[in-house]
Symmetry: C2
Subunit: 278 residues, 2 copies
DNA sequence: CGAAAGGTTGACAATGCTCAACAACTGTGG
DNA sequence: CCACAGTTGTTGAGCATTGTCAACCTTTCG
């Protein structure tokens, strides 16, 4: 883990009230009309592979991503790691540690990344006086809870194919919510990181990519993915899925048609959910 | 699902300020010195199998369990269900829906259960004026986030044996935190529900129970479980586990010795975490 | 250009699922 | 109090999805 050496880079010290476009959170802290809110948050820049914070660090601040991608992950003593979250522009990083003294994960930049650092003390103080901000934080926490639950359901129920398709649709949703194409995008994470996130090995991820491409459902070139038949993909993903996945950006994606595209799955086990009294 | 017919039982309408022992939450709402906080929360009684709320219901209140056990679960249109959480006395139910208009899951009593109903409106109002209460809610949400992450890690990484052992240790932790024996306890949920929660079929759960019993690590009689060799069990559970699991009751369990009891696992795959640069 | 990292594919093994039968327990009614 | 039905739990046999190991290919970057 050479990247650990480069962690905790100093931010550049520049208050970003002017340039920051994170409406929701700057709203409360930076755009506060008058005086005291100065220096509450600054811009932090990370280069690919650098860490934002380490597991166990005292929780000093929350970070809002302006540009770039961040993964949060945990590690065993023997150096193995598991990705527990991917975070994109507009997302808050460190949310799960809000109420705790120490960060519960590592946060590492997957590409060059710019973030707003929101000091916890200032944030807490601001939130105390501003129910609106507190509410935003609750919303963000609630959103994360839902995503976490969706992942829990996915890991418990879905096959490799369903997991990867669901993952791709989540990515597409996220890109759409941020104004990018949802049918063609570049993943910032490796196969290994995807697999770690959705509970598969990198080989299985690679194989599923190939299989979906063979079926004509997606096109894969390196990390550039094109979703060619989104309806069919949704049909695959939605079979075992239940509760709606709320996109990271709190943008409600209009529910697409739920076409049932059966017969696409070369080999798939029966559903693993259990039947209640029926 | 006959139980659905019986859902939404009326609470008995009795304010529980006097008898309620949920220090942490009643603290903010009920024990408020003077006037206006009347009727903010009432006692609700559920009989085994009854629902507290349904997925999609408008979020009207939060519930704190006084006695009994509750599961939260989600369901597909075709009647299959997945358990997403078990909740014990002192836990808050409905937390994940705090910031949302509709409940994200069903909540069903696993046994006769008594709860405090905390109206959302009142709660919100109270929290606005009382940073202490808001902080408690953040803590509870944060705690849930951590448990959810622990589950995520478990589902992504662990074998059947490791999952069941981890589950049992979580249960033991919970019982210990509530002042009960952590080495012998009665599970309130079926094998099917356990399996649904930890991502296994009921048969696999049953087999793992038998296997652990054969190894002399636990004793199983129906739903009564005795943990006979907790150190060995912890050794099994902690191998792939990383971040500490925070018990539901916010009680820090003293870290037990990390004995490595190898050679106990008849058949077990190599670790599924990926190795970073080592 | 060459090395290192990342990605693909194949062969094989095994964990855990499916199907199935049976056993134990619970509770209800005669 | 017993019997019976229904629910819950146990165990077995077979199979397949997915992990492991391994070789090879591709891309990136110094």
């Amino acid at each position: 883990m050479t990247q650990l050496d480069e962690c905790h880079l100093p931010c550049d010290g520049m208050p970003c009230s002017a340039g920051c476009q994170l409406d929701r959170f700057c709203l409360g802290v930076a755009r506060r009309p008058a005086g005291g809110a100065q220096g509450i948050h600054r811009t932090v820049r990370l280069r690919k592979g650098q860490c934002l914070y380490l597991l166990g660090d005292p929780v000093t601040s929350l970070y809002a991503i302006r540009v770039g991608t961040v993964k949060t992950h945990v590690t065993t003593e023997d150096g193995r790691t598991q990705v527990v979250g991917f975070h994109f522009p507009g997302d808050l990083v460190g949310l799960d540690s809000l109420a705790h003294p120490h960060y519960a994960s590592y946060a590492t930049a997957l590409e060059d990344t710019k973030l707003c650092m929101l000091g916890m003390d200032a944030l807490r103080a601001a939130a105390a006086g501003m129910p609106e901000l507190a509410n935003q934080l609750f919303l963000a926490l609630g959103g994360q809870a839902r995503r976490s639950r969706a992942l829990q359901t996915m890991l418990a129920l879905m096959t490799a194919e369903e997991r990867l398709v669901t993952f791709l649709l989540w990515m597409a949703e996220g890109f759409a919510a941020r104004g990018f194409s949802s049918s063609e995008f570049v993943l910032r994470m490796s196969r290994e990181e995807i697999g770690s996130y959705i509970g598969l090995t990198l080989e299985t991820v690679s194989r599923q990519f190939s299989r979906l491409a063979d079926c004509g459902l997606i096109r894969v070139r390196h990390r550039t993915i094109a979703l060619l038949d989104k309806l069919a993909l949704q049909a695959i993903a939605e079979r075992p899925m239940i509760s709606a996945h709320t996109p990271a950006c709190d943008v409600q994606v209009p529910g697409a048609a739920r076409t049932i595209a059966a017969g696409l799955h070369p080999a798939r086990p029966a559903a693993r959910l259990y039947r209640s009294n029926d």
